[in-house]
Protein backbone atom coordinates (compact mmCIF):
# COMPACT_ATOMS: atom_id res chain seq x y z
CA UNK A 1 0.00 0.00 0.00
CA UNK A 2 0.96 3.57 -0.57
CA UNK A 3 3.24 4.34 2.35
CA UNK A 4 2.14 7.95 2.48
CA UNK A 5 -1.45 6.80 2.69
CA UNK A 6 -0.75 4.27 5.42
CA UNK A 7 0.96 7.01 7.36
CA UNK A 8 -2.10 9.22 6.98
CA UNK A 9 -4.30 6.36 8.14
CA UNK A 10 -2.16 5.78 11.20
CA UNK A 11 -2.04 9.45 12.11
CA UNK A 12 -5.70 10.07 11.42
CA UNK A 13 -6.63 7.10 13.60
CA UNK A 14 -4.65 8.76 16.37
CA UNK A 15 -6.74 11.88 15.92
CA UNK A 16 -4.53 13.90 13.57
CA UNK A 17 -6.90 16.26 11.84
CA UNK A 18 -4.54 17.20 9.01
CA UNK A 19 -3.88 13.56 8.19
CA UNK A 20 -7.58 12.89 8.16
CA UNK A 21 -8.11 15.82 5.82
CA UNK A 22 -5.46 14.45 3.46
CA UNK A 23 -7.21 11.07 3.47
CA UNK A 24 -10.59 12.63 2.89
CA UNK A 25 -9.25 14.70 0.00
CA UNK A 26 -7.69 11.62 -1.54
CA UNK A 27 -10.96 9.70 -1.42
CA UNK A 28 -13.68 12.32 -1.71
CA UNK A 29 -14.28 11.77 -5.41
CA UNK A 30 -14.41 8.00 -5.05
CA UNK A 31 -16.73 8.12 -2.09
CA UNK A 32 -18.94 10.76 -3.66
CA UNK A 33 -19.14 8.91 -6.98
CA UNK A 34 -20.22 5.74 -5.22
CA UNK A 35 -22.78 7.64 -3.18
CA UNK A 36 -24.01 9.40 -6.28
CA UNK A 37 -24.52 6.18 -8.22
CA UNK A 38 -26.15 4.54 -5.22
CA UNK A 39 -28.52 7.41 -4.53
CA UNK A 40 -28.85 8.90 -8.03
CA UNK A 41 -29.19 12.30 -6.40
CA UNK A 42 -26.45 14.85 -5.90
CA UNK A 43 -27.81 16.26 -2.68
CA UNK A 44 -28.26 12.82 -1.19
CA UNK A 45 -24.79 11.89 -2.40
CA UNK A 46 -23.33 14.92 -0.67
CA UNK A 47 -25.07 14.11 2.59
CA UNK A 48 -24.14 10.46 2.34
CA UNK A 49 -20.52 11.35 1.66
CA UNK A 50 -20.43 13.55 4.71
CA UNK A 51 -21.93 10.77 6.80
CA UNK A 52 -19.41 8.32 5.41
CA UNK A 53 -16.44 10.52 6.23
CA UNK A 54 -17.76 11.32 9.69
CA UNK A 55 -18.23 7.63 10.30
CA UNK A 56 -14.75 7.04 8.95
CA UNK A 57 -13.35 9.53 11.41
CA UNK A 58 -15.10 7.82 14.30
CA UNK A 59 -14.27 4.27 13.30
CA UNK A 60 -10.77 4.75 11.96
CA UNK A 61 -9.24 3.71 15.30
CA UNK A 62 -10.87 0.32 14.71
CA UNK A 63 -9.09 -0.18 11.39
CA UNK A 64 -6.69 -3.07 11.87
CA UNK A 65 -5.03 -3.09 8.50
CA UNK A 66 -6.33 -6.57 7.71
CA UNK A 67 -7.52 -5.31 4.36
CA UNK A 68 -6.37 -2.37 2.31
CA UNK A 69 -7.59 0.92 3.68
CA UNK A 70 -9.34 1.71 0.42
CA UNK A 71 -11.43 -1.46 0.43
CA UNK A 72 -12.19 -0.95 4.09
CA UNK A 73 -13.45 2.56 3.29
CA UNK A 74 -15.45 1.25 0.34
CA UNK A 75 -17.10 -1.28 2.63
CA UNK A 76 -18.01 1.46 5.07
CA UNK A 77 -19.30 3.64 2.24
CA UNK A 78 -21.24 0.80 0.68
CA UNK A 79 -22.94 -0.05 3.97
CA UNK A 80 -23.97 3.54 4.58
CA UNK A 81 -25.32 3.82 1.03
CA UNK A 82 -27.11 0.49 1.18
CA UNK A 83 -28.74 1.49 4.42
CA UNK A 84 -29.87 4.72 2.79
CA UNK A 85 -31.32 3.04 -0.29
CA UNK A 86 -33.23 0.55 1.84
CA UNK A 87 -34.71 3.26 3.99
CA UNK A 88 -35.62 5.26 0.94
CA UNK A 89 -37.20 2.23 -0.67
CA UNK A 90 -39.36 1.79 2.41
CA UNK A 91 -40.38 5.40 2.26
CA UNK A 92 -41.35 5.32 -1.37
CA UNK A 93 -44.93 4.25 -1.48
CA UNK A 94 -45.30 4.16 -5.21
CA UNK A 95 -43.38 1.93 -7.57
CA UNK A 96 -40.34 3.50 -9.13
CA UNK A 97 -41.78 3.75 -12.60
CA UNK A 98 -43.19 5.47 -14.46
CA UNK A 99 -40.79 8.22 -13.62
CA UNK A 100 -42.32 11.59 -12.95
CA UNK A 101 -39.75 13.38 -15.06
CA UNK A 102 -40.71 11.59 -18.23
CA UNK A 103 -37.43 9.73 -18.47
CA UNK A 104 -39.33 6.68 -19.59
CA UNK A 105 -39.41 7.88 -23.13
CA UNK A 106 -35.86 8.14 -24.36
CA UNK A 107 -34.76 11.07 -26.45
CA UNK A 108 -35.15 10.31 -30.13
CA UNK A 109 -31.54 10.99 -30.93
CA UNK A 110 -29.75 8.76 -28.53
CA UNK A 111 -26.56 7.58 -30.11
CA UNK A 112 -25.83 3.94 -30.66
CA UNK A 113 -23.41 2.99 -27.94
CA UNK A 114 -21.34 0.88 -30.28
CA UNK A 115 -19.94 3.94 -31.91
CA UNK A 116 -17.93 6.50 -30.08
CA UNK A 117 -20.05 9.55 -29.33
CA UNK A 118 -19.14 12.16 -31.85
CA UNK A 119 -19.76 15.29 -29.91
CA UNK A 120 -20.18 16.60 -26.42
CA UNK A 121 -23.93 16.55 -26.66
CA UNK A 122 -23.96 12.88 -27.53
CA UNK A 123 -21.55 12.07 -24.76
CA UNK A 124 -23.71 13.88 -22.32
CA UNK A 125 -26.85 12.11 -23.49
CA UNK A 126 -25.12 8.80 -23.28
CA UNK A 127 -23.86 9.39 -19.77
CA UNK A 128 -27.29 10.52 -18.67
CA UNK A 129 -28.94 7.46 -20.20
CA UNK A 130 -26.55 5.07 -18.51
CA UNK A 131 -26.82 6.87 -15.20
CA UNK A 132 -30.59 6.74 -15.42
CA UNK A 133 -30.56 3.07 -16.35
CA UNK A 134 -28.30 2.29 -13.42
CA UNK A 135 -30.86 3.73 -11.09
CA UNK A 136 -33.26 1.00 -12.17
CA UNK A 137 -30.87 -1.71 -11.06
CA UNK A 138 -30.83 -3.17 -7.59
CA UNK A 139 -28.49 -1.44 -5.14
CA UNK A 140 -26.31 -4.54 -5.13
CA UNK A 141 -25.92 -4.43 -8.89
CA UNK A 142 -25.36 -0.69 -8.85
CA UNK A 143 -22.61 -1.09 -6.30
CA UNK A 144 -20.73 -3.80 -8.13
CA UNK A 145 -20.93 -1.90 -11.43
CA UNK A 146 -19.78 1.31 -9.79
CA UNK A 147 -16.86 -0.28 -8.00
CA UNK A 148 -15.71 -2.12 -11.10
CA UNK A 149 -16.45 0.16 -14.03
CA UNK A 150 -16.40 3.60 -12.43
CA UNK A 151 -13.96 3.22 -9.58
CA UNK A 152 -11.83 0.59 -11.28
CA UNK A 153 -11.46 -1.85 -8.42
CA UNK A 154 -10.20 -5.36 -9.10
CA UNK A 155 -12.52 -8.32 -8.60
CA UNK A 156 -10.61 -9.20 -5.46
CA UNK A 157 -10.94 -5.70 -4.05
CA UNK A 158 -14.66 -5.69 -4.76
CA UNK A 159 -14.98 -9.05 -3.06
CA UNK A 160 -13.31 -7.64 0.02
CA UNK A 161 -15.26 -4.41 0.00
CA UNK A 162 -18.60 -6.16 -0.33
CA UNK A 163 -17.58 -9.18 1.76
CA UNK A 164 -18.48 -11.56 -1.03
CA UNK A 165 -16.63 -14.49 -2.55
CA UNK A 166 -14.83 -13.52 -5.74
CA UNK A 167 -16.96 -15.97 -7.68
CA UNK A 168 -20.07 -14.13 -6.56
CA UNK A 169 -18.56 -10.83 -7.66
CA UNK A 170 -17.96 -12.28 -11.14
CA UNK A 171 -21.48 -13.55 -11.55
CA UNK A 172 -23.08 -10.51 -9.97
CA UNK A 173 -21.11 -8.16 -12.18
CA UNK A 174 -22.07 -10.15 -15.27
CA UNK A 175 -25.74 -10.03 -14.30
CA UNK A 176 -25.51 -6.34 -13.47
CA UNK A 177 -24.01 -5.59 -16.89
CA UNK A 178 -26.63 -7.68 -18.59
CA UNK A 179 -29.32 -5.93 -16.58
CA UNK A 180 -28.00 -2.53 -17.54
CA UNK A 181 -27.78 -3.54 -21.18
CA UNK A 182 -31.30 -4.92 -21.03
CA UNK A 183 -32.68 -1.66 -19.68
CA UNK A 184 -30.96 0.34 -22.39
CA UNK A 185 -32.17 -2.06 -25.05
CA UNK A 186 -35.71 -1.87 -23.76
CA UNK A 187 -35.54 1.90 -23.85
CA UNK A 188 -34.76 2.10 -27.50
CA UNK A 189 -31.71 2.65 -29.57
CA UNK A 190 -29.01 1.06 -27.54
CA UNK A 191 -27.61 -2.26 -28.73
CA UNK A 192 -30.92 -2.99 -30.31
CA UNK A 193 -29.96 -4.44 -33.66
CA UNK A 194 -28.81 -7.98 -33.06
CA UNK A 195 -29.90 -8.50 -29.54
CA UNK A 196 -33.45 -7.39 -29.10
CA UNK A 197 -35.00 -10.72 -30.02
CA UNK A 198 -32.57 -12.92 -28.16
CA UNK A 199 -31.60 -10.73 -25.29
CA UNK A 200 -32.39 -13.34 -22.70
CA UNK A 201 -30.04 -15.95 -24.05
CA UNK A 202 -31.52 -18.79 -26.03
CA UNK A 203 -29.77 -22.04 -26.82
CA UNK A 204 -26.54 -21.87 -28.63
CA UNK A 205 -26.44 -23.50 -32.03
Amino acid sequence: MDTRESEWVRQAAAGDRAAFEALARAYEKKVYSLALRMSHDREDAFDLSQDIFLKLYRTLPQFRGESAFSTWLYRLAYNVCLDFTRKRARRRELPLSPRPDGADSPPAEWPDLRYAPENEYEKKELRAAVAQAMDDLSPEHRAVLTLRDIEGLSYEEIAEALTLPTGTVKSRLARAREGLRGILVAQGNFFAKETSKEAKGGDAP
Partner: protein, 288 residues
Protein backbone atom coordinates in the same frame (compact mmCIF):
# COMPACT_ATOMS: atom_id res chain seq x y z
CA UNK B 1 -23.73 -27.71 -25.02
CA UNK B 2 -23.44 -24.38 -23.33
CA UNK B 3 -26.29 -21.94 -23.48
CA UNK B 4 -25.92 -18.21 -23.94
CA UNK B 5 -26.85 -17.82 -20.30
CA UNK B 6 -23.85 -19.91 -19.33
CA UNK B 7 -21.57 -17.69 -21.40
CA UNK B 8 -22.72 -14.54 -19.69
CA UNK B 9 -20.03 -14.58 -17.04
CA UNK B 10 -17.36 -15.39 -19.63
CA UNK B 11 -18.52 -12.48 -21.75
CA UNK B 12 -18.35 -10.18 -18.78
CA UNK B 13 -14.86 -11.37 -17.88
CA UNK B 14 -13.77 -11.13 -21.48
CA UNK B 15 -14.96 -7.52 -21.65
CA UNK B 16 -12.61 -6.90 -18.73
CA UNK B 17 -9.80 -8.72 -20.52
CA UNK B 18 -9.68 -11.23 -17.70
CA UNK B 19 -10.94 -14.39 -19.36
CA UNK B 20 -8.27 -17.07 -19.50
CA UNK B 21 -7.73 -20.07 -21.70
CA UNK B 22 -9.31 -22.38 -22.50
CA UNK B 23 -12.44 -20.43 -21.63
CA UNK B 24 -11.48 -17.65 -24.01
CA UNK B 25 -11.31 -20.05 -26.96
CA UNK B 26 -14.60 -21.66 -26.02
CA UNK B 27 -16.21 -18.26 -25.91
CA UNK B 28 -14.68 -17.27 -29.23
CA UNK B 29 -16.13 -20.40 -30.81
CA UNK B 30 -19.55 -19.60 -29.40
CA UNK B 31 -19.44 -15.97 -30.48
CA UNK B 32 -18.65 -17.00 -34.03
CA UNK B 33 -22.03 -18.71 -34.18
CA UNK B 34 -24.03 -16.44 -31.92
CA UNK B 35 -24.52 -12.83 -33.02
CA UNK B 36 -26.54 -12.12 -29.87
CA UNK B 37 -23.67 -12.98 -27.59
CA UNK B 38 -21.21 -11.21 -29.86
CA UNK B 39 -23.35 -8.10 -29.59
CA UNK B 40 -23.54 -8.60 -25.85
CA UNK B 41 -19.78 -8.57 -25.58
CA UNK B 42 -19.63 -5.45 -27.71
CA UNK B 43 -22.22 -3.78 -25.53
CA UNK B 44 -20.37 -4.70 -22.34
CA UNK B 45 -17.20 -3.22 -23.77
CA UNK B 46 -19.00 -0.07 -24.84
CA UNK B 47 -20.56 0.28 -21.40
CA UNK B 48 -17.18 -0.25 -19.81
CA UNK B 49 -15.85 2.60 -21.92
CA UNK B 50 -18.65 4.95 -20.95
CA UNK B 51 -18.88 4.17 -17.25
CA UNK B 52 -15.74 5.96 -16.04
CA UNK B 53 -17.25 9.22 -17.24
CA UNK B 54 -19.95 8.77 -14.60
CA UNK B 55 -17.39 9.55 -11.96
CA UNK B 56 -18.06 12.98 -10.57
CA UNK B 57 -16.18 15.31 -8.32
CA UNK B 58 -18.08 16.39 -5.23
CA UNK B 59 -18.73 20.03 -4.41
CA UNK B 60 -15.73 21.77 -2.91
CA UNK B 61 -17.55 22.07 0.37
CA UNK B 62 -17.58 18.35 1.10
CA UNK B 63 -14.32 17.94 3.01
CA UNK B 64 -14.45 21.34 4.74
CA UNK B 65 -17.97 20.47 5.85
CA UNK B 66 -16.81 17.16 7.27
CA UNK B 67 -13.93 18.81 9.10
CA UNK B 68 -16.23 21.44 10.48
CA UNK B 69 -18.55 18.82 11.86
CA UNK B 70 -15.66 16.95 13.38
CA UNK B 71 -14.52 20.11 15.11
CA UNK B 72 -18.04 20.82 16.27
CA UNK B 73 -18.28 17.32 17.67
CA UNK B 74 -14.98 17.73 19.45
CA UNK B 75 -16.44 20.73 21.21
CA UNK B 76 -19.65 18.90 21.95
CA UNK B 77 -19.15 15.18 21.79
CA UNK B 78 -21.96 13.12 20.50
CA UNK B 79 -23.89 11.18 23.08
CA UNK B 80 -22.56 7.75 23.77
CA UNK B 81 -24.57 4.62 23.26
CA UNK B 82 -25.23 4.43 26.95
CA UNK B 83 -26.64 7.90 27.04
CA UNK B 84 -28.76 7.15 24.06
CA UNK B 85 -30.35 4.34 25.98
CA UNK B 86 -31.28 6.65 28.81
CA UNK B 87 -32.51 9.07 26.19
CA UNK B 88 -34.92 6.35 25.17
CA UNK B 89 -36.29 6.40 28.69
CA UNK B 90 -36.62 10.14 28.48
CA UNK B 91 -38.49 9.80 25.26
CA UNK B 92 -40.93 7.37 26.77
CA UNK B 93 -41.61 9.77 29.59
CA UNK B 94 -41.99 12.66 27.24
CA UNK B 95 -44.35 10.65 25.14
CA UNK B 96 -46.56 10.06 28.15
CA UNK B 97 -46.54 13.72 28.94
CA UNK B 98 -47.35 14.53 25.38
CA UNK B 99 -50.45 12.47 25.66
CA UNK B 100 -51.54 13.48 29.10
CA UNK B 101 -51.08 17.17 28.68
CA UNK B 102 -52.14 17.77 25.17
CA UNK B 103 -53.14 21.34 25.75
CA UNK B 104 -51.66 24.37 24.16
CA UNK B 105 -51.13 26.98 26.83
CA UNK B 106 -51.02 29.83 24.41
CA UNK B 107 -54.39 28.89 23.11
CA UNK B 108 -56.07 28.68 26.49
CA UNK B 109 -58.65 31.26 27.37
CA UNK B 110 -57.24 34.05 29.46
CA UNK B 111 -58.98 32.90 32.62
CA UNK B 112 -57.98 29.31 32.37
CA UNK B 113 -55.59 27.92 34.96
CA UNK B 114 -52.12 27.98 33.59
CA UNK B 115 -48.82 26.67 34.80
CA UNK B 116 -46.72 29.16 36.76
CA UNK B 117 -44.33 30.18 34.12
CA UNK B 118 -42.30 32.66 36.05
CA UNK B 119 -42.15 30.69 39.23
CA UNK B 120 -41.03 27.49 37.64
CA UNK B 121 -38.70 29.14 35.28
CA UNK B 122 -37.22 31.33 37.96
CA UNK B 123 -36.45 28.30 40.05
CA UNK B 124 -34.62 26.83 37.15
CA UNK B 125 -32.69 29.93 36.42
CA UNK B 126 -31.01 30.29 39.76
CA UNK B 127 -31.03 27.04 41.63
CA UNK B 128 -29.40 27.01 45.02
CA UNK B 129 -29.31 23.28 45.10
CA UNK B 130 -30.67 20.41 43.16
CA UNK B 131 -33.31 19.99 45.86
CA UNK B 132 -34.80 23.28 44.98
CA UNK B 133 -35.18 22.37 41.41
CA UNK B 134 -38.39 21.01 40.27
CA UNK B 135 -38.10 17.29 40.01
CA UNK B 136 -35.70 17.32 37.14
CA UNK B 137 -34.38 19.31 34.31
CA UNK B 138 -32.99 18.21 31.06
CA UNK B 139 -29.72 19.87 31.75
CA UNK B 140 -27.86 21.81 34.37
CA UNK B 141 -29.02 25.36 34.30
CA UNK B 142 -26.26 27.85 34.41
CA UNK B 143 -26.24 30.05 37.46
CA UNK B 144 -26.84 33.15 35.43
CA UNK B 145 -29.93 31.65 34.12
CA UNK B 146 -31.06 32.40 30.66
CA UNK B 147 -33.25 30.70 28.23
CA UNK B 148 -33.49 27.08 28.96
CA UNK B 149 -35.39 24.85 26.77
CA UNK B 150 -36.03 21.42 27.92
CA UNK B 151 -38.51 19.48 25.97
CA UNK B 152 -42.02 19.98 25.06
CA UNK B 153 -45.15 18.08 25.56
CA UNK B 154 -47.39 19.71 23.09
CA UNK B 155 -48.59 18.41 19.86
CA UNK B 156 -50.74 15.63 21.20
CA UNK B 157 -53.93 17.38 20.37
CA UNK B 158 -52.93 17.92 16.81
CA UNK B 159 -51.24 14.59 16.67
CA UNK B 160 -53.68 12.05 17.86
CA UNK B 161 -52.10 9.37 15.74
CA UNK B 162 -48.80 10.13 17.28
CA UNK B 163 -50.21 9.86 20.72
CA UNK B 164 -51.35 6.36 19.96
CA UNK B 165 -47.95 5.47 18.71
CA UNK B 166 -46.28 6.91 21.75
CA UNK B 167 -48.64 5.13 24.05
CA UNK B 168 -47.40 1.81 22.79
CA UNK B 169 -43.88 2.49 23.88
CA UNK B 170 -44.62 4.41 27.03
CA UNK B 171 -44.92 2.81 30.44
CA UNK B 172 -48.58 2.28 31.07
CA UNK B 173 -48.59 2.37 34.85
CA UNK B 174 -47.63 5.97 35.24
CA UNK B 175 -50.05 7.98 37.32
CA UNK B 176 -51.26 11.16 35.72
CA UNK B 177 -48.77 13.93 36.16
CA UNK B 178 -49.20 16.21 39.10
CA UNK B 179 -50.15 19.53 37.75
CA UNK B 180 -48.17 22.60 38.51
CA UNK B 181 -51.27 24.48 37.59
CA UNK B 182 -52.42 24.16 41.19
CA UNK B 183 -49.52 26.18 42.42
CA UNK B 184 -50.33 29.49 40.90
CA UNK B 185 -52.03 31.24 38.11
CA UNK B 186 -50.51 34.57 38.70
CA UNK B 187 -48.56 34.92 35.50
CA UNK B 188 -50.49 34.10 32.41
CA UNK B 189 -48.00 32.94 29.84
CA UNK B 190 -47.16 35.11 26.98
CA UNK B 191 -48.38 33.76 23.74
CA UNK B 192 -45.90 31.32 22.27
CA UNK B 193 -43.90 31.17 25.46
CA UNK B 194 -42.81 27.59 25.81
CA UNK B 195 -41.10 27.75 29.15
CA UNK B 196 -44.10 27.22 31.35
CA UNK B 197 -45.55 24.23 29.75
CA UNK B 198 -42.18 22.77 28.99
CA UNK B 199 -41.41 22.93 32.66
CA UNK B 200 -44.77 21.53 33.49
CA UNK B 201 -44.24 18.73 31.10
CA UNK B 202 -40.91 17.79 32.51
CA UNK B 203 -41.51 18.39 36.14
CA UNK B 204 -44.88 16.85 36.45
CA UNK B 205 -44.07 13.48 35.01
CA UNK B 206 -43.51 11.22 38.03
CA UNK B 207 -41.03 8.95 36.32
CA UNK B 208 -38.85 11.76 35.14
CA UNK B 209 -36.36 12.18 37.98
CA UNK B 210 -34.56 8.88 37.51
CA UNK B 211 -34.50 9.27 33.79
CA UNK B 212 -33.34 12.83 33.91
CA UNK B 213 -31.19 12.95 36.99
CA UNK B 214 -28.10 11.91 35.13
CA UNK B 215 -29.12 14.23 32.43
CA UNK B 216 -29.02 17.18 34.72
CA UNK B 217 -25.37 16.43 35.33
CA UNK B 218 -24.40 16.66 31.74
CA UNK B 219 -21.12 18.33 30.99
CA UNK B 220 -22.80 20.36 28.36
CA UNK B 221 -25.21 22.71 30.03
CA UNK B 222 -25.75 24.60 26.83
CA UNK B 223 -27.17 21.75 24.85
CA UNK B 224 -30.16 19.54 25.07
CA UNK B 225 -30.48 16.16 23.55
CA UNK B 226 -33.85 14.58 23.32
CA UNK B 227 -35.33 11.61 21.63
CA UNK B 228 -38.74 12.46 20.41
CA UNK B 229 -41.02 11.26 17.67
CA UNK B 230 -39.69 13.10 14.73
CA UNK B 231 -42.98 14.47 13.50
CA UNK B 232 -43.69 15.89 16.92
CA UNK B 233 -40.36 17.60 16.82
CA UNK B 234 -41.13 19.16 13.48
CA UNK B 235 -44.34 20.48 14.94
CA UNK B 236 -42.55 21.96 17.91
CA UNK B 237 -39.49 23.31 16.27
CA UNK B 238 -40.78 26.81 15.51
CA UNK B 239 -41.46 27.26 19.22
CA UNK B 240 -37.95 26.17 20.08
CA UNK B 241 -36.61 28.58 17.52
CA UNK B 242 -38.66 31.42 18.89
CA UNK B 243 -36.79 30.96 22.11
CA UNK B 244 -33.41 31.28 20.51
CA UNK B 245 -32.54 27.65 20.22
CA UNK B 246 -30.27 26.45 17.47
CA UNK B 247 -30.62 23.08 15.95
CA UNK B 248 -27.34 21.24 16.09
CA UNK B 249 -28.41 17.96 14.71
CA UNK B 250 -31.11 15.46 14.29
CA UNK B 251 -31.33 12.00 12.97
CA UNK B 252 -32.86 8.65 13.43
CA UNK B 253 -29.75 6.56 13.44
CA UNK B 254 -26.37 6.38 15.00
CA UNK B 255 -25.38 8.70 12.22
CA UNK B 256 -26.77 11.94 13.46
CA UNK B 257 -26.62 14.69 10.95
CA UNK B 258 -25.04 17.66 12.56
CA UNK B 259 -24.66 21.14 11.43
CA UNK B 260 -22.78 24.22 12.32
CA UNK B 261 -24.06 26.57 14.91
CA UNK B 262 -21.47 29.28 14.82
CA UNK B 263 -22.55 32.82 14.25
CA UNK B 264 -23.62 33.37 10.73
CA UNK B 265 -24.07 29.75 9.84
CA UNK B 266 -27.29 29.14 8.06
CA UNK B 267 -29.68 27.25 10.23
CA UNK B 268 -30.92 24.01 8.84
CA UNK B 269 -34.52 23.17 8.93
CA UNK B 270 -35.58 20.03 10.72
CA UNK B 271 -36.58 18.65 7.38
CA UNK B 272 -33.02 18.86 6.19
CA UNK B 273 -31.73 16.95 9.13
CA UNK B 274 -34.26 14.47 10.14
CA UNK B 275 -34.95 10.87 9.69
CA UNK B 276 -38.02 9.26 8.27
CA UNK B 277 -41.36 10.33 9.53
CA UNK B 278 -42.73 8.28 12.33
CA UNK B 279 -39.33 7.25 13.61
CA UNK B 280 -37.76 8.44 16.77
CA UNK B 281 -35.29 11.17 16.18
CA UNK B 282 -32.40 12.17 18.32
CA UNK B 283 -32.56 15.92 18.37
CA UNK B 284 -29.75 18.06 19.65
CA UNK B 285 -30.41 21.66 20.38
CA UNK B 286 -27.93 24.31 21.32
CA UNK B 287 -29.16 26.82 23.83
CA UNK B 288 -26.27 29.23 23.94
Amino acid sequence: MNTCEEFLEAISLSADGLLEEPAQSELAAHLADCPACAARLEAFRALGAVMPSLSEAPPDTLVPGVLYKIDAEARRPMPSRRRLISLGAVAAVLAVVLILQGKQPWNLPADAPVPPADAAFGAMSAPESMDELPEATLFTPEAEGGDHLTAARDGASEYAGDANKAAVTAPTDLPPPASNADAAATAPPEPHDMSDFINTAIFSAPAVPEALASYAQTDFPDRVEIVIPYDVFVLLWPEFQDRGATLIGAGSDDVVSTTGQEDGDPQPTPNELAGPEGEQALVIIYLG
